[in-house]
């Protein structure tokens, strides 16, 4: 029962791809079957919602099929070869992820459903036992709801206070305000690595140092929008928790991870209780399995992990530096072209570093009407609050339109976006 996993293409093909790239095409796109078919009425799919979720390359889809077709079994507990093999492959992905993120401590990599669950794990398993009235947690106004609501739940259960760092005109965090908000009762500081609305890349090294200097607070970084798009090296960061989702980085749905430190995880209660996470069970108590299994209760999303492994292989083959370069170039192009659209206002511009997530409004046209008109042209963008209602309120808008890019997007996508926006302007003139 072989494990034949299709490999991403070789490096000479990659170079060829780079050339076409320079010519404004995007050749990685061909690795994604959804782009090899017309979207609707013969028009191509212009997928600009990768900040929500990304499309999947053939290698990931095949990894899933092959796994279910040829080597499927459960992990950890099998008494037979097939299950041992699966267990090995499962934990190899953990090692791959550690390498991909420069995470020094494999035992502190916990598989979760998604970034959201990873944050909830921290909130419950650390927060319930360690937070009490009078304590505070410092967040930012640009957090995704997934890094707000878990802490509001802890406010409900443990009576803590929440504090929010604001942003400046460019869409960057006010670091001086962060320093002011932290006091001796601050137990955790939670900051997104990259904003899912403004594209802002927050200066994690600086933030990490700042928090460590002025407090004992734990540091949680939300990497959901970062890990897919730029090289991450956790070894260089001061942090306690880093979270991410596979589906935003070419992987399957239903799988994500929490990256932490073993000493910290050892001291925490488990989150979910169930099979695989125990060592010995008595009537009233149990002892927990070693890390990371202590935090992985029940049958895990085995196929999700295997598929994520294939996605990590693909991204590694492409190279995260290239992914970033591609996106930065495309973002520059997009910002330049978008600025030509009459009545456009782009939220967050002039940041020191920003990625390909562009939120905007068009004077007099509601985001939902924009999305409908764009969809008509096969251009898929997002309209709404982007799970960032606090930021919407701060920006003074009920909703924005958002276009977001990934490695399969090219200038042609930007051109189609701009053309469709021009039509929207025309219609609403």
């Amino acid at each position: 029962m072989g494990m034949s996993m299709p490999m991403p293409k070789g490096s000479s093909e990659l170079e060829q791809a780079a050339e076409q790239e320079a010519a404004g095409e995007c050749s990685w796109r061909r690795d994604f079957p959804i782009f090899n078919q017309p979207y609707r009425d013969g028009i191509p799919l212009t997928y600009l919602d990768s900040a929500a979720t990304t499309q999947k390359p053939q290698v990931v889809i095949d990894a899933l099929s092959d796994f279910y077709s040829h080597t499927y079994a459960t992990v950890h507990r099998g008494a037979y070869e097939l299950s041992s093999q699966v267990t090995d492959r499962f934990d190899q992905v953990r090692a791959k992820l550690a390498q991909f993120l420069g995470a020094p401590d494999e035992r502190a990599i916990v598989f979760t459903r998604n970034a959201t669950e990873a944050i909830n794990l921290v909130a419950y398993a650390w927060g319930l036992d360690n937070l009490s009235p009078g304590d505070n947690v410092v967040l930012t106004i640009m957090e995704h709801h997934s890094n707000i609501i878990p802490w509001q739940l802890m406010a409900h259960y443990r009576g803590i206070e929440l504090r929010y760092v604001e942003i400046d005109q460019q869409g960057e965090l006010k670091l001086d305000q962060l320093a002011e908000l932290i006091d001796e009762h601050t137990r955790l500081v939670g900051v997104t690595h990259v904003s899912n609305v403004l594209g802002t890349v927050n200066p994690l090294p600086e933030i990490g140092r700042l928090v460590r200097e002025c407090s004992d607070a734990l540091i949680l970084f939300d990497g959901a929008q970062a890990a897919p798009h730029l090289p991450v090296n956790l070894t260089e960061l001061e942090f306690d928790f880093y979270v991410l989702s596979a589906h935003k980085m070419l992987g399957p749905t239903g799988i994500g991870a929490l990256i932490s430190r073993s000493e910290l995880l050892e001291k925490m209660q488990p989150f979910n209780g169930g099979g695989s996470m125990i060592e010995r069970v008595e009537l009233d108590t149990a002892t927990w399995a070693e890390l990371p299994y202590k935090f992985e209760a029940g049958t895990p999303h085995i196929a999700g992990v295997i598929g994520w492994g294939a996605a990590l292989d693909y991204l590694t083959q492409v190279g995260m530096e290239r992914v970033l370069d591609h996106e930065l170039a495309l973002t520059d192009y997009a910002l330049a072209r978008l600025s030509q659209v009459p009545g456009i206002r782009i939220f967050g511009q002039g940041q020191k570093m920003r990625l390909g997530v562009i939120s905007f409004e068009l004077a007099g046209i509601h985001p939902h009407d924009i999305a409908t008109i764009l969809d008509h042209h096969g251009v898929c963008i997002r309209a709404g609050h982007h799970c960032a209602q606090l930021l919407m309120k701060f920006l003074g808008v009920p909703a924005t339109s958002r276009a977001s890019f990934y490695l399969y997007n090219g200038r042609d996508d930007v051109d189609r976006l701009v053309n469709a926006l021009m039509e929207a302007v025309e219609i609403f003139r």
Binding site: G364, I365, H366, P367, H368, D369, T372, I373, H376, G384, H385, P398, A399, E423, I427, F428
Partner: protein, 158 residues
């Protein structure tokens, strides 16, 4: 359905120049309606006369062209209608935008300008925009029948 037929002149006219927009302090019933998925918010003011006719209908709120135009056109269409006829129109309109009815000549006549919203039936994810005001109206009439004066309506995902 072409874009120009969805975002046609009638709809854009009502969107840019909404009729009956504003508060109605002497309203019998006020309904606050919203669609959490879109962020659309609409407040509908109803005044009924002694014969249970809709003497005056006004609205305030923010939303997309479809929801705003639908609200504006609705206020025009139901103004002066007896309660029962308004309720019939609500059903007819909702059937149209949900794609549940073929419109015959009589129905088209009754709907008038509202027929310009028929294209919404092709856009699954915009139907709620078109129906928000109408659901608010329905809620308001029911609240009135119950003797109340304020109602709240939160659209559900389906």
């Amino acid at each position: 359905m072409s874009l120009r037929s969805l975002y046609g002149n009638i709809i854009l006219d009502h969107y840019k120049n909404p009729r009956n927009m504003g508060e109605l302090p002497e309203a019998d019933v006020v309904v606050e309606a919203r669609n959490p998925l879109c962020g659309d918010e609409l407040t509908l003011y109803l005044k009924l006369d002694d014969n249970q006719r809709l003497a005056e209908v006004k609205f305030t709120g923010v939303g997309c062209a479809i929801s705003q135009a639908s609200a504006s056109m609705m206020t025009v269409a139901v103004q002066g209608l007896p309660k029962e006829e308004a309720e019939e129109l609500i059903q007819l309109f909702k059937q149209m935008v949900m794609g549940e009815a073929e419109l015959d000549a009589e129905a088209e006549a009754r709907l008038g300008d509202l027929v310009s919203l028929e294209g919404v039936s092709q856009l699954h994810n915009r139907v709620k925009c078109a129906t928000l005001a109408w659901n608010a109206l329905q809620e308001g009439l029911e609240e009135f029948a119950r003797g109340g004066s304020r109602a709240e309506l939160v659209e559900k995902a389906d």
